[in-house]
Symmetry: C2
Subunit: 480 residues, 2 copies
């Protein structure tokens, strides 16, 4: 194995796209499946998903949301019941036409999303106010045939996600749920993946087909492109009417219910790779790292082996007793240098080096992945490693916040706007609220309205495109 082939061969700055793909493949997070546009997750990639899933499940559960299971096949007739919704997905749907040698009657769609299926069932399950709120989440995959170039985690024809579907007696309760979920999304992504996000509304043009409005969380990637990190939709009664999701209130009067749907996907893993990775490869936030600390024992002579190994095992046990995920690299045939590069490429947050000299000095060498800092740590201070991991997690979010700020621009002049969009980044600009301007901007610059931030209060200005009085300050960007 030549070293060139093993490591990342391009820099993040020079060829972001190739760098990304190499990190995904060489850090063994994922691989391509035999069908174009599909990927496979290897254990190191899937364990990040499992970690996120566990965190979300705990938070969903606290909010009264329980999990369920829906099949992947939806009859064409059902999918078409909400017309706008169907039109949005139609070109991307995979169709099952045969089982064995037999034709199926009504063609079967592979789930592009499950609103139509879930609400058909909800209309059977909900009879009275007693059955509300109904809050079910589904961890599954969605299938949408991608025509554009696919990219692991970011654009694939099947992707892991969760889709939550809730039903409420009142409009207010449903609207509150939309925000509760968006908050759960935001704090999980920031706390677990150390990625800052901006939350707000989508424009009418960019909202989920079938929703009354869509709230979203967006991030700016180091290459200046925006990434949608999750959405939470207020569906109003758009689905409850065609699907007859009705309930009898306490006075036995029937009403159509109010609904929400929301989802995040493995895109979050793609974002994590892009935001934190560097020229040596992946950089994992400690909270989601399958291995948090890797120990590389170093010795040349057999006489040292026993001592080094004893100490290595001792440290491992100490760390495991603190619930730290530790791995010892026991590969005899590889050099320490090779091992260092290998674990750096895989993004393991902390590396411990321990050799005979370290044992003499009663210390270990600790190498932090995210900033490449090396420090000595006394044997007596091993228990500090927990707080060092926490500190790394915090610092990574700070650095990512600073990066995002540097990539965010406040612009009021259209020619500056065009120039900036060409270079990438989030661009905040006044907007009159008309889709005509939104369309023209997209046509002329390639930028969409990514999010109309909840935080941007100052709307008094002139539309960056038509110069009329503005009513919003959206964030524009070219997106993934």
């Amino acid at each position: 194995m030549s070293k060139e082939k093993v490591g990342i061969t391009v820099s993040k700055k020079d060829d972001f796209s190739e760098w990304y793909t190499q990190v995904v493949l060489k850090a063994k997070l994922a691989d391509y499946a035999p069908v174009k546009g599909l990927i496979v997750l290897r254990p190191d990639g899937y364990s990040i998903w499992e970690s996120l899933k566990n965190t979300f499940d705990k938070k969903f559960s606290k909010n009264g949301i329980r999990n369920g299971f829906l099949p992947v096949l939806i009859p064409e007739s059902l999918l078409g019941k909400e017309q706008k919704h169907f039109a949005g997905f139609n070109p991307e749907v995979f169709w099952v036409t045969h089982s064995g040698e037999n034709e199926v009657g009504d063609r079967l769609a592979l789930r592009p999303t499950s609103e139509t299926l879930a609400y058909t069932l909800y209309s059977k399950w909900i009879k009275s106010w007693r059955d509300l709120p109904l809050k079910i989440n589904f961890w599954n995959t969605a299938l949408r045939a991608e025509i554009k170039a696919t990219k692991p985690f970011l654009r694939t024809s099947e992707f892991l996600w969760q889709e939550g579907h809730t039903v409420h007696a009142t409009e207010k309760e449903a609207k509150d749920e939309v925000i509760t979920i968006l908050d759960i999304y935001k704090n999980t992504v920031e706390e677990e993946l150390a990625i800052p996000v901006i939350t707000g509304k989508k424009s009418e043009k960019e909202k989920f087909v079938g929703a009354v409005y869509t709230t979203t969380m967006e991030s700016i990637m180091p290459d200046g492109k925006a990434l949608q990190m999750g959405t939470s939709h207020f569906l109003g009664q758009n689905f409850s009417k065609p699907f007859e999701v009705k309930f009898a209130d306490k006075d036995n009067v029937e009403h159509f219910a109010w609904q929400t749907s929301w989802g995040i996907s493995w895109r979050l893993i793609g974002a994590m790779i892009m935001v934190h990775g560097d020229d040596k490869g992946l950089v994992l936030p400690p909270k989601v790292a399958p291995i948090q600390v890797v120990i590389v024992p170093i010795y040349n002579q057999d006489e040292d082996k026993k001592r080094v190994w004893e100490k290595t095992e001792e440290i491992k046990n100490q760390l495991e007793s603190k619930s730290i995920r530790v791995h010892i690299d026991d590969r005899n045939e590889l050099s320490p240098g090779y091992k260092f590069n290998d674990w750096e490429m895989k993004g393991i947050p902390l590396r411990i080096e321990i050799g005979p000299k370290d044992i003499q000095k009663q210390k270990i060498v600790l190498a932090k992945r995210y900033n490449k800092e090396k420090i000595d740590l006394d044997f007596k201070e091993i228990e500090k490693i927990n707080s060092i991991l926490n500190e790394i997690q915090t610092k990574m979010l700070e650095i990512a916040r600073d990066q995002a700020k540097l990539n965010t621009f406040d612009i009021s002049n259209y020619s500056e706007f065009k120039e900036r969009i060409g270079k990438g980044g989030f661009v905040e600009a006044y907007w009159c609220g008309k889709q005509e301007c939104e369309d023209k901007i997209k046509e002329e610059t390639g930028a969409d309205i990514r999010v109309i931030s909840f935080e941007n209060e100052n709307k008094d200005g002139n539309c960056v495109y038509c110069n009329e009085t503005s009513i919003e300050v959206p964030i524009f960007a070219r997106g993934y």
Copy 2:
């Protein structure tokens, strides 16, 4: 709501099939999806699956198995690479022929099982002995179009399962893995679901297509039909050769690897329903029950309400502090009697009744679901509830073992054999080992060889069919 409609309307003994379906639907475990043969899991059903999943994940992890993700679409050409394997699944495969308006080239199969897909990837991932053993498990669904009448959990065209795929350097290691997994399956099913199983080998005829041999765990259901509860296959080099799953050993000599695959599905939930349920509905083993204890506060007059509620909350907190899953039934508009029936139908292991008189006497009434026993428990003894739940779990397994024993018969005479098979049950009988006899028995009685038990040592007898010298003592039965 009339009481007749709400409860189970047939007895388990009189109409087992209808009883089963009513329990599934009325206990709100599952419902039918709009596509024939497909079901949906409601939260109470899915949480049983999640509980099993958590237990298996812990045990798999201890055994060095990690989880991954595979897409649902497999190209036809790949599926056909191992011919025998393909022939076995071909009639059941759902085929995707279009995405949007476009025809896909090579037809895409919806995963009937993932050997061919996984091993295509394994052949890329495995280079040397360092990469072995490779042990990955996938929690997903399998899709096999069912032509026969479908039944929730037991026979559906899409089902939740896990499929594990391991690769080893030696034959022995792979064979040992097959048994390790079968043991994990057996102890999980017995300890969590309180269902006794018999483990052993399948006959050549009944083995998994593509396996060298299949080990299985089987149970006898109360209606006398056998249910396959899980299988663990030794694949030998049957797949490693066509898929080129090879590794270089320490001397850099290349070898084909040795493989296993294994799976359990939501059938286990079906078995749990059948084995433990009764005329009142579901009976849940405490370990997998989403709610372990339901508290029904009882009061007629407003003056009692406060006292009863205070005590109810207090008991709830006491139990939750012991990690017991508790629910208070606070539905004012329903009578205690209605509530009792409702929770009995849902199979909640323990019900606590608490009213003003109980509070006076400083005690609660405890109703056990599995044997309908009612006992008084002093307020001071609340902490005993944990051990009562454990006792219920143990007793349920004992009862199920006794049931299974009553349904197991040792028979050497073929006319007795035929009669017994007609009535149902596990029938142990001597067998010469020839498929001819196995085929004839199937033809004449409808019984398959379910399992050749590991425990049956005494093979000296005469084949129940041809009277020649026996070499095995399989268990015959009609199956699901």
